[in-house]
Structure formats: C-alpha cells, structure tokens
Symmetry: D2
C-alpha cells in the first residue's frame, strides 16, 4: 500500500511492436503501441513516448513524447502522425531527474554515422557514473542525466573492433553488455529491426508475445501463419489487451532480434562463472500487475502464496482478515485461506482522490489518509482485525489507517506484512528512500507495533518470501521448446533480494 | 459493473458548508467544499461548480465552474478566488443536456429583487415540462434546459401570498414544493444561510454532518462547543474526508436552515395521505459509495445482504464465487459467505484504461473488454465459477467477460445478479436507457444465459431486494432524538422501485 | 494612443449573417460569422460568441462562446459544430463585469413560450438599473449583470397588448424601445429571421452589407440576382473581409428584418420631438477602424480632417510632425499636410509586447513605455517635434513618451491632440475612467504641458471636432434611395459629445 | 510585405545577460532575459528558451523552453524557477526542422567532462553536413537536426591540443571557428561566463549593451560605476526595453568574454586573406527592427535611404506614394521625400488576422489578402498610386493588393521595390523558397507588371542597395575607442548579397 500511496518504487515500462509480413500490413502499429503503454501505465505515470519507423531504407522515424498519462500525452494528432509506422518502441516513465522534464522522456533517438537508432530502457546502470565519465572523456556532451541517453551514446561510439563503414549493432550491443552488467531491459530500434535485450542477471523483466487474430487469441490453434506481428513488453499483462499470445521471456543476457520475418535469438551474453540470475523479487511483491507472468508463474499466485506463507509464519488470534486496497488483496486472501479466518473488506478507496490543487493546511494534514479511505465500519466494529499489507517502507501511511480502523470500532488491529522489512537502497532502478528514511533502520522499529499503534506487527521472512517465489518455478515443467538447449542451464534460479539483505548481485562501483 | 462501464445511471451530487461562529472563522470553507466534491465525484464527472458567499450584507458571492473532474476544474487560481467564503454550495454533474456545456453547470446563481440566490440540485422534476411552460408563460426566458435553472426561476417568481418588499425564502421554497412533488435534493444559498431541502418522497438522498476538530472526529466526546461548521451532502461518505461527524439525514419533505448559528428544521412538507416515502432503491444497489449511510444503515452492508439473499434464492452447484470488480464485490462476498463457496478474484482491472484518443478499428472493437480486464487464470482454470454482478442493463458487457473467463479455462460461468431486471425508464434523475434497449425487454431475455454464453443466469427478486434493504431499517433503534416527535411518523418505510416494477411514486404528467 | 494602451473605451461589436435563397445554400454562414468577428476584433478582445440557427421549424440553434481572441476561442471543433447554420449572430466583448466570466459572454439565448431567441447587443442602457428592478419585480431572476441578458428577458416578458399564443417579436422589440431610449445596436435572432435594431438616437453604429460573388465584390454590376446573403455589422470594415458590398446603415430607431427573402425595414421608432440623433462622436475619434464608413464618410478621412483642423486651430513653430502609433496616424498626416511640416516616424512599436507574466519590479516600472516603443533617433535628433495624439484621458502614457523622445535628442516636443479634453463619464457603453481620474479634471491640467514635460499642449476644440465630422456629412448627396421618403428627415445631423461637454442626449435616470 | 505575410526569411534571435559585481546582485537576470527575448520576438515566433546559471562552483543551471511566443511559453512558474540566475542566455526560434519540435528548441545544454555548457546560436553552418559526418564518425549520436546541437557537440569534443583535465573553452571555440567559417552568432555559457562569438565574416549580427540605472539610461553621465550588468543581443533594439545603453558590436571573428567583472575581447579569428566581411544585407532590408543599429547606423535610416535611392533610380509619373504596411513604410517615406510626391496611407491592416482555425473554402481563397487589409478608398480613389514594398519573393501577395486598390478606385498602381529581385537560395540561415519558387526565376518575371496587374514594376539595383547601405558606414566617424587598435582594420566594409547575386562569401561544400 505504501508504495502505491507514495509513488515509491515505481519504475519504467518498455514496449515494442513489429508488424509481421510484407509492409505495409493491416496491423496498426501505433495503436498497438499505445494500448501496450496503457497496459504498462502502472509502471510509470510521469511521461510517455513512442517512436515508430516505417522500416524503409533509409527509414523515416516519427516520434511523440508527452508528460502525464498516456491518454493525456497522446492526443489525436499525435496518434495521427505516428500512424505510418511498421514497427516501433515506446516507454512509460516514472519520475523526473535532471533539469528539463520533457527532455528526459524516452525513447531516445540519435542520428549516427549509420543512421538513426531509438532506445527505450528500464533499469539503472550500476556503473553509470563511471560510464558517463568514459563517454564524456571521449568528447561526447550528454544533454540529460538519464541512463538511457548514456546507453544511446555508448551504442553510437564506434567500438574498436568495428569497421567504420559496416555498422554491426549486435556487436555494439554485446560490447555495451560487457561494459555494464546490470540492470537493463532494453529495446533498440534500427531501421526495420527491434533488438530486445535483457541484462545478464535478468534483473528487469522482458517478454515476447505474438499478435494473432482476436478470434484466435485464446485458442491453441493459432498457427505460425496466423502471426500478425510481434510485441515485446516489460510485462505480459499487456498482451491480452492488444490481442497477443504469450510467447516467451527474453532470457537473462539474451539479445533477440525482432523483424517482419520473425523472432530470432542472436546471442546470450553469460554472467561471470558462478553467478545466479537476479530477477528483482519486488516485481513479484509489488511492482508488476497481478495478471502478469514471470518465470512461468502468475504474479497473483505468488502473492497469494506469500500470504499463505505469512499465515504459517505469523498466525494471529483474531476474528477477520482484510487488505489495504488494492495491492495487498491477493496476499490477504492467501492469509485468510491458510488461516481459516473470514476475509472481509474494511476500507473503501476513493479512486478520484489524486493530484489536487488544494493547498494543504493543518486540518488537511491531520486528516491525512482519511481523505482517501472510507471505513466500512459495520464490517469490523467490535472485531479483532488482521490487516495484511504488501510491504512497509517508511511506515508513515499504515499508522493513520490503524487509527482510522480503531476509531471506527476495531478492537485490535494486527499488521501482517507479506514481505520482509526493506533495509537497503536499490541501485538497480527502484526508487527506494534513503537508508535513513526506512522504518526498518530506525530505532522505532524495535517497537514498531507501539509506534504505529498496532496490536502486533509481523513480517514475512526472507526465506519465506524466496521459497514462496521459487516454489512455483521449481514445479514448472519446461514449457518452451523454442529456446536452444544451450540455454537450458538458465533454469538455475536466483533472485535479487538486495533491498532486504544487502547482498547485491554485482559489486557496486561508484 | 455495466453501469460503471457505460456511464449509465450516474447522477449528480450536491454539497454545502457553513462555518460556525462569528465570521471570519478559521475554517477554510472553499477547501472543505472542494474536498466534499471530490468525495462525491463518483456521482458525476462531467463538470463541477462552487459558489461561496462571504455572508455579509449585502453579500459577495464568488463562483467557479469547470468541465471535467474536480481536480481538473479547480486550478489554484480558482481556489484562490473562492477563499473568502464563509459558506458555500457546490455541485458535481454527470452529463450534458442542452446546447452549451458550461452553461448547464451548477450551482445556478441569479439576482432577484431581494438579492442573489444560488441553487444546487440533484434529481429530476417529474413535471418539468409543465413547469417550464408555466414559467415561460409568465414571461421568463430560460437559458438552459436544466431543471435546476427552472427551480431557480421558480424561486425568483414572487408568490401571490408574499409582500413584494419582504422576501420570504422559506415560503417560496414551500410553494415550490407544492408545485412539484419529486425528485429533488436541493441546496439554496441566500446571503448567510443555506437551506437544505428534500422532496416529500425523499427520492434523492441528503444528509447533514458536523465539522469538529480532526482529533475529535471519531470520539463521542465532541461536544456542541467543538462545532467548527456544518456540511450537507448527497452522501455521508464525504464527511470523513473533511473531518465531520455524521449528524442526521434531512427527512423527506423537510426544509432545514443551516447558518453560522447552527442547524434548524423549519418545516416538513407532507406527502399526500397514504403515500409512502420513495427513496431510490438503486442508491443502495449501485450509485452510492459503499461507506455511505442511508436510513441508518451502511450501503456496503445492504449490498452484502443482497448477495446473501441471492445465494438463498439462487444457489449454484459450483466451485468458486467471484465478482466483476469493483462495484459487485460486497454482493459477491455476501453470496460466498451464505453459500459457503470460496471467494476468489478472477479479473484484474487496469485502472488506467479510460477515455482514450485511439480511433477504434475492427481489432480494437473485437478486443472489447479485454483491454480493461486481465484474467487471473490460475485462480479459476478448470473450475466452475459463480460470477456475481450488481445489475444488468443492456447486457452487452457481461458477455465478453464470460467469453474471456471461459477461454482462460473456466469450465462453467454462472451469472448471479444482485438486483432484479431493469424494465422501465426512470423519470426521477437516473439516466437509464430507453425501454427498447433494456435487455429485460428483449426477446433474447427469454434465453439470456444462451445469449450471453453463461451456464445459467439468475436475478434477485424484487421482494428479495426490498427485504434486504428494509430488513436493516426495521432493526434500527431510533437513534436520533433531535428530530421533533411530530416527524417520527417518518418511520414508515418505502422505496422507489419504479425501474423494476413500473410503479412510480407519483402519477407522471407530461 | 492612450485608449489603445490602457484598454480604455473599448466596447463591443455585433455581427450577423443570413444566407439568401432556399436553404441549405452554398454560403458557409459559420465561416462568414467568424471572419466578421475577426474584422470587429478591435472592438473587444475579452470573449467571443456565435449562435447559429438552421432556420427550420422548430429551429435548431448551435452556440459556442469562448474567452480571448476569436482565433483562440474558436477551435476547429467549435467551427465544426456550428457549420449547419443558415443564419446566425455573433458578438465580441471588451470587458468583464459580473462574477463569472464566461457566463457574461454574448449572444444570450433563452427559451421562451414561443421558442428560443438569441440576442447580441452593443451599448449600455441608460436606465438599466430601473429596468433590472422592473424585471426582477416581475419575478425574473437575472443570472448576470449584463444589459444584454436584461434585454433578452425584457423581450421574453409578454407585453400587455399581446395575445399569449401569437408571438409578435416586432411589437416586443418596439415595446422594449419605448422603455429604454439609448444606447443599443441590437441583433435579435428568432428561428429564420434576424432583426437589426438601432436605438432612436443612433448612438451606436450598425450597418448592412450584401454578400456577392467575390469576383463581383467591387464591381458595380453585381445585381440583385447575385445576392448570396446579407450581413449586418457594427462597422462596415468587416464587409470587405467577407466579400460583401456596403448596402446601407440601419437608421436611428429603425427595426430591419433580415431573412432569406431579403432586407425589409419594418418600422422607425421616433425620438421625442426636437431631439437630434446622437451618434457617438468617439467612434470617429478613436473606436472605429479607419476603413469603416459612418454616415456616408470614411472614418480615416474624418480623422485626417481633424488633424487639418487642429493645424489651423493650433499651429506650431516646429520642424517635423509625427504620430503616436498607430491610432493617431491619420490625424498626424492631416496636421502635416495642413501645416506644411514634414511627416516623419519617431517611434517603433514592438507589437509582441502584451500581456506578460513578468512580475513587475521597480526597474520594470521605471522603464514603463520604453518596453513597448523604440525611438527612431536619427529621424528627429536635434529637431523640434509636433507629436499628434488622438486623445488624452488620464495623461499617464504620453509623459514617458515625451521623456523618451527628449532623451533621444528631440529639442522640443509639442503635443497636439486631435480631440477635445474628456471631462465627463459616458453612460452609453464606453468604458471611460471616473471623473476624478480624467486629467482634464485635475489641477495638473492647468499646466498640463509642464506636468507631462511638453513644450506645449493644445487640443482640438469641440466646435472644431464637430465641424470636422459634420462637414463630410453635409456635403453628401443623398445616395440611398431604398429608404422610404418618410425617413429622409433623418438628415438632420447630431452627435453625442457628452464626454466632452456633459450634455447627454437623454436625461439620465438612476 | 511578403516576408511578413508568408513567414519567409524569419530567423532566430539570441540574447544573454550577466549581472555585474558580486553575486547575488539586485539585477533580476531572468526578467532581463525575458524582456530581451520579447524585444527579439520579430526574429522568431516558434519557440523560446532560457537557461540561467547561478555562477557557483559547480554551477546550478536552470532551463525552460516552450513553444510559441515568449509570453505564452514563459508562464509564471517558469519565470519563478529561473529566478536565481546570475547570468543566462536565451533564444527565440523561427521554425521547425527535425522531427520532435520541443527538442529542437535552444539553448542546448550538455554535460561535458568539465561541466555543463549552454549554447544559443543564430545562423546556419555552410558545412553542416560535413561536420555532422565528422562528429558522428567520432561516435557521437546527434539527437536533433539542429546546427546548434552540432556546435555544442563540436565544443564537447576534446581537441587534440588540449590536456584532458584542463578545459580551455576559448581554444575550443577557436577550434570550432577554424572548422566552420560562417554563419553564426553564438552565445556559449559556462559556469560564470558568457562567450559572445561572431563568425569571421560577421554574417549574423551581435552587439553588446551595458545595463545602467533606468534614470541614467539616456544620459551620457552613466559612468563605469553605474554598470549593473551586461547584455548581448542579436539586435540593439532590445537594449532600450531593458534599460541598457548601446556599448558596441561584436566584431566579425571576435570572441568576447562577459563576466561579472566586465567585458573582455579575447581574440579575433581572421578571415582568409582578401576576404571582406559579409554581413547579411537583408538584415537592413527586412529582418531587423527599424530602431536597431548595425555598423553604427540605424536600420530605419538605411531603409529610408533605399527608398530615396529607388526614387532616383525609378521615378514615377504618379499622384501619391504609399506603403504596404508595415515593413515598407520607411522606404515609402524615403521615396516620397525624394520624389516630392505626397505620402498617403492606402491600406488599413487588421492586426488580429492571424493563424485561424477556419477551414479555407473557395470563397475564402478568392478573398485572399482582402481579409487582412482594408482599402482606405477616399485617400486614393481616382489617383495614380506608387506602392513601395520592401521586397518581392514569390510574388503572390502583391497581386491581390493591386487588384484591391484598383477595384477601390486607383487609376494606376506602380510597384516600386526597395530591394533587388531575390534569385538565389541562402545557405546561411535565411529561410528563402527554392530557386524555382522565386518569381525572379520564373518566365512570368519577364512581364511581371502584367503578371501582377501593375502599371509598372521597378526594383532597386544591387548597386543602389549596396551604396544606400554603405554610404552611412563610410560617413561614420570612429566612435568607439574601446576596441583595440589591432581591430581597427575591420573598417573595410563588405556585405553578403548572395541571394541577389549568387556570390556567396565562402565556397559552399555539400
């Protein structure tokens, strides 16, 4: 809940689409891109951008970027001007760093000796500072503070091994991947190709879908010949909304080429010997939409399993179980199922409360969360409530909710958190407060229940979380035969739990 | 769900605030009004308006109206110019009739012989046509097609019994109430007073709250001396968000005067002998926010009871129970509790899908509801699902959801509707499709399950709905001693079920 | 110049168009109306509105109003929705009185017992206060402080002599004209007719044009059969921009009916015995566009004549004559021609200086007019300059210009004003400062040259102005035979000079 | 006139300001920058941008860019965020090339190894294509098609002779100047310094002003100690509007450093032996504001001289002389003075006609220029008119004006153009139509008078134009002793007349 309330931890979403077959095709690529962005809107609401290419030689690129939600940023004229694209990539961004807002919007497009490339990026380069220095030392001016511009310029730099007149984008991408281990899920568009790239640790998600006729969207009978195009997306939840079937994940370290001819795995850049993959475990805990699929399992199911595990680890003597809407609901239902306590709703959320122009005064600040949540008093008056939340970060939003519930008649409020305490910063793309602001690092944490006014507070253990996540993967049968056997070793499972444990997947250089 | 999807049946919300004690007070009335509007935003998203008065003699009124959501319509400058109000009324509107949009926004303000009045109205006058004729015959030009302007001009007309130089607003309001029986919940502001009026049938809701220090908002110890102001609102859900305690409902036919000196019941205009009150039963079924209180009971509880009753009337041989998010959830939980079947979630809603500028093409139309809902496949694959919805109107949105669930693996989908079929138009403020468009009046209704692809479809009976609503009222103890004993006869309970039964509370004149 | 700088004295413009022949015709009425408004934009920049009618029975009216310049207020969608009009009226407004801005925009449309009427008005009713009282006493609420709404409601009131079921708009307009003598130029649209009305004193201008094929616009051979439509406008300058030929003025007191069948004079309401017409003399001095024609003469020519007269009345021993751009240029050229002194330019105006968001500080205030005018130093350094201005009102803008010219090298600056000092308020539609603010009523006026830093200051006399205006009319031959002979007595000429002399055309009632 | 009508030939404006003395000073730099931009608005209306620096170590830069006029692009919040600048540069741009509009706005800011630099540029690099190749070959991606980004990246490239850790911006600027001969007037801001640079040919203007107390703005007594800051601007017309005294021009090839300590000439990069300066002669003819000063003479005076010269070269047997407002007026007055014919006004311009949303139809196209100009018939009916225009480019706007005048009664219309025919493209920053579109290159040019309907058409000769321009410079006494004697050789005068003669100042490389 706290992530949701505070805009903590939101990150970016990337999406791409390539029409299949000979161009121009029937597929309206700009429309698919826009719908894809809308489906990824939960990953970033600050700005959105689309770049399309007509795929010709030389290609014509068309771009539109705008501040705010996709539906605000893409007015009819914007969609009109993008309409001749046969392929394209897009991006939705979560926050502003740097000093001119629109300039930081992605995708970035630059003209190079070999033509224009467009880049969309989700993640954060752990060695960004050193790479910026390197690029600038080469004599390149950087117009933003964005890692994505940095990546774009790194790709523009002619690598030593390349002949000047024969661009080899794949070699350049590989070169980039050797210079920065993580984190990035990347889309690079050049003329008539989109390269989909995931860092060797697979820290950020990326998966591929196949567009088929709507009527065959859910049927298993949609054959190769039905393919209308390909999409690549941070999350699979976008596939259904545009009429695509889930195809497969991009593997950690993999470079996949998507063109009108289809999808082709070009290379898998390996991790250092012994390193496990490090997919961000908070994608499961909070960021992703519950109907997305990672590593073969549905996020909703993992969250529910976390709730069950929490009920095992932290049972409660109480009357009812409830959720802080909306993100904690799967875990709350899991807790209820496992514990046998009845599941009820205790809070009603006003979905219209948002960015308002009201100047806050004392009264408004005192009201706090009450502006946003109505108490469903009759459901819990006189009862002991287990309130399940997905995570606690600063600990400043759960407290007024507990107060609200108690004043509205709850006799006890027990907080159960479906993830472990966050204690460490993330350097791989998640906007987590500084160490000092995290409630888990404060003296108050010793008596957090007293501090926030709860009857008790208990967290899921790291082990509990990891097992709830990995249990589903272990039970997976190998479903996808399209990945060459050399990649099957990827089944060794690992996740990044750095914000919980301080164990970062790579050494941090600053 | 269908109401929510199609904008059917939305209506308006009214809200008012008067600061208590000697003016100027600490209470920022414009801020309270804005927050109140935001809390009533679910009742209307087309436009919003606020009018404040400084309460002086002569008063200075300040107004701002704008299209769209409250947070859009009220930019910082708008709030700034309103800030000197000591009292005010506001309105949020659901749709546009008439030919210049902003002009139809409420509140309406007119200058009369005795000074300016401002009027905000929720409802629809059953004899509007005849009243328009009467007013225009008197020589008044009407600049909009709005009932609210009509009411304003009716109030401006000097009634025969009034001396020209002594305005008697209460007499004028009473006069208005004798001319039109229903439906209206009305706020009339004049100088330093807000009159809160509910039609004799009590068709639309209206209730009063008392603003207290935030710290005493939930405590029973907030005494008279703690009163910082008064609010009056279509729904009580707005009280918590501004720090007010629920005080009481305005009774059917009652005129309540709210001033800096407090709240005073001036009169109760009676219904014709033998007529029962006729509060709109669909406020319970769909319109109101679940944390609002009508007739002493919480809306959520009534909806849950409807779900339980539905489980009794229409039990199902199935594996799981679920909801069409979000409005049907209380009923679905009620059904699950009563039936003993487990409650699960089957659909994930993308809250960012909204008014978009994408031009629909064939593919988009085929995708339909899939753009908005993601299937939580793992939760129901291979299972028989009872899907509870709150109401079915045209029947065109439930069908693609059933298709989606079946394609995603549900073996059977049984539709259970927590209200009876809608068969008749509403002439009292609810925007219901024409009789011909209602699925219940179509031949397809004979085999509606076949038509929409469900394994079975069953509705709550009218008797079941009425008893689920009235059961809670019957069990109420008389809680509020502030209403004079002469009004206690109001306990005879009745509800308007015209759209379900065709029995209108008053004879319709056209 | 001062009017121009300070927005003093701007007023409104009205414009109407009726397509000729059987509907629907080729003529795009909405486009003609928009162009007409743009041509009258100098009469008001605050807001603009258009109402069209399709002329059917019952008619469909379409309206759009917006704040700001015509080109801002009328976006493509607005023009699109207006496009089916066969006739229409429009209005451009100069300032905001009343408390909700858009609501005061004209034209006003109201629904009456006999259908909708639309009204556009230029002027100010001298007895507005009493008329408001009368209307409100009748029980009408007035939603704005605008005289135009008042007129609309006065027209809606059934006059005693009229049968309720037989609307007689002409009788109602006549009735209105007996209730208020001045000032108004009025367009009233009802179904398929536009009534063009000028008050009995002819205080505000109004004239009629005939739309012909563009190719025949300037040819004398455009016959009756070439008529594509009719336009009516505050000023004839709009005719050329839409391709219309000047037809004739609406006479003082005249009601002209314009329909698809043509133009018809219905009536001329007389003035009280002995009263002369009172056309506002400041239309000649400042308000009108120089290419407009009033009373048979071009405004530019009158201004030039004022300059010549000024040179006769107030000759100067100087080297060069110049203007304060742009409004004073015709008078300055007239002065130069009469005096024999060379005409030069001394100031260059930055046309982009306008409403800016820069917060003024001391430096900015000190810079004053220098931000807006550049000195063309080389043209006048070392010379004695006669600077001709059209009028001086508060006297606060000419002073910094004199300073600027002197600092840039002028040895002497002599101010010659092509109109007499303004001493009295206008109650007939011109926004003139209060008596106390007028420089002519201040002690400083005794030594105005010293006060503003000029070598000398001289004004045109009232007699000089009147003779410069009327000289052109006297020499006119009777050109228009279309006016019936009974109206020829209208040739007795008179003008309103109230702001200069305090002699108002009618007794003022308050 | 045609430039004005068609947006042909507009170009950009640059402006900078540095507060003098110890920071923070009283001078509101952001305000000065905004006023400066407004004064240069005639050089570009498409977009505007400001970047300020607080001058600290490391500096904080603040930027704002926006589309449209300065007053639109700089809303209050934008000015607020810029307010802490102690120095800054800004830019107003005339048109859009490249594919994302806002991204092309200047100034450009990039981060380099040595910190951020900001660049504003007026001009066009003749060898841009080759330079782009060079930069991209180095591995730099270019995100826009703008020459200004190119310059910025060229400055970021470490030149061979520079040690990596000791930035030497002046050396880099010099290096840039050796790589591209023309055309650029450039402002480069780095931390606490603005470098003002003009290309060796001086093709684009650039001059320096000194901010003094407003009260001393025009007095000769403003001493060194009165200096509040320094400004640098494309044109001196901006100085008066911000309260600055003209100081001097930046010389061709000169690099001037402006800091809080004052103005310092760092270097003058020479032209190839034998090459003359090549200041764009069209700055005199059309682009500049008439009150600006170039090469010691006022633009207005030069235009007047062109008119006089035209009267000598092309006398006319006619009755009156007039102008196509507003840009041709100085030339028309010069023609009148020289010829002895009376100067009159024939056209009244509607300054509100602008970008409108009206969809053009046949009628509208036929009306053409009539929408914008009103004929002042009485001034010229029955007369032979000499109409002076500043330039003719495509020749499509003068024709309807001649038609208008003739239809309104002119017996003959003689066109006299105060510049020679434009025959060749400009590659140095002026947006001139392609060779094929220029009327001077069309067969119609042989009988241009017949083609446009004039009685006769005559142009100023190239020799006439050059002598009218250079006559004023020759007569100049050396006024400015601040330039070191080594720079005095700059008095050899030359101008770029490439668009008239095809003689480009440098060889063109493509």
């Amino acid at each position: 809940m706290e992530f949701e309330e505070n805009g903590i931890g939101e990150e970016c979403g990337v999406f791409g689409c390539v029409a299949a077959g000979e161009w121009p095709t029937q597929l309206e690529v700009a429309q698919v891109l826009t719908l894809g962005l809308v489906a990824l809107q939960h990953r970033g609401q600050e700005s959105a951008g689309i770049v399309t290419s007509n795929g010709a030689s030389p290609p014509t690129y068309t771009a539109h970027k705008g501040m705010g939600l996709v539906n605000t940023a893409f007015a009819p004229e914007a969609l009109l001007k993008l309409r001749y694209g046969n392929l394209g990539i897009c991006h939705t961004r979560y926050s502003t760093t740097g000093f001119s807002e629109l300039e930081n919007c992605q995708p970035f497009v630059v003209d190079t000796l070999h033509g224009k490339i467009a880049v969309a990026h989700n993640g954060e380069l752990v060695n960004a500072h050193a790479l910026r220095k390197r690029v600038m030392r080469h004599g390149v001016g950087l117009s933003t503070s964005s890692d994505s511009e940095l990546i774009t310029q790194l790709l523009a730099l002619t690598p030593p091994m390349e002949e000047q007149d024969a661009p080899n984008w794949v070699a350049r991408i590989k070169n980039l991947m050797t210079e920065t281990p993580t984190s990035y899920s990347l889309l690079v568009m050049f003329k008539d190709v989109v390269y989909a790239v995931r860092d060797p640790y697979g820290n950020r998600p990326l998966c591929i879908g196949r567009i088929v006729p709507v009527s065959k969207m859910h049927s298993s009978g949609a054959g190769e010949e039905d393919t209308e195009g390909w999409v690549v997306s941070s999350e699979s939840c976008s596939f259904q909304s545009i009429g695509a079937k889930y195809y497969r994940e991009v593997l950690p370290g993999e470079i996949v080429q998507i063109s009108k001819h289809g999808v082709k795995s070009l290379s898998v850049v390996p991790r250092p010997e012994g390193d496990l993959p490090a997919f961000c475990i908070f994608e499961y805990v909070y960021f992703a939409r519950p109907d997305s699929i990672f590593e073969g399992q549905m996020v909703y199911t993992v969250r529910q399993r976390c709730g069950r595990q929490l009920a095992i680890e932290a049972p409660t003597d109480a009357d009812v179980v409830s959720t802080v809407p909306e993100s904690a609901t799967p875990a709350a239902l899991g807790y209820a199922q496992q514990s046998g306590l009845p599941y009820i709703e205790v809070l009603c959320k006003n979905r219209y409360v948002g960015r308002t122009f009201i100047q806050p005064n004392t009264r408004l600040r005192q009201l706090g969360v009450a502006k946003k949540f109505g108490a469903l008093t009759d459901n819990f008056a006189g009862k002991r409530v287990v309130l399940v939340d997905d995570s606690i970060v600063r600990g400043n939003t759960i407290s007024p909710i507990i107060k609200l519930l108690k004043e509205a008649g709850a006799t006890e409020v027990h907080i159960r958190v479906a993830s472990p305490p966050i204690r460490y910063p993330c350097y791989m793309g998640i906007n987590i407060p500084t160490k000092e602001e995290l409630i888990a690092n404060k003296p108050e944490f010793q008596d957090i229940a007293g501090y926030i006014g709860a009857a008790s507070v208990q967290y899921l253990t790291v082990e509990g979380l990891v097992s709830a996540v990995q249990e589903g993967i272990a039970s997976l049968k190998e479903k996808d035969e399209r990945i060459s056997s050399s990649n099957k070793s990827e089944k060794r499972v690992g996740h990044c739990t750095a914000c919980l444990t301080g164990k970062y997947p790579v050494e941090l250089e600053w």
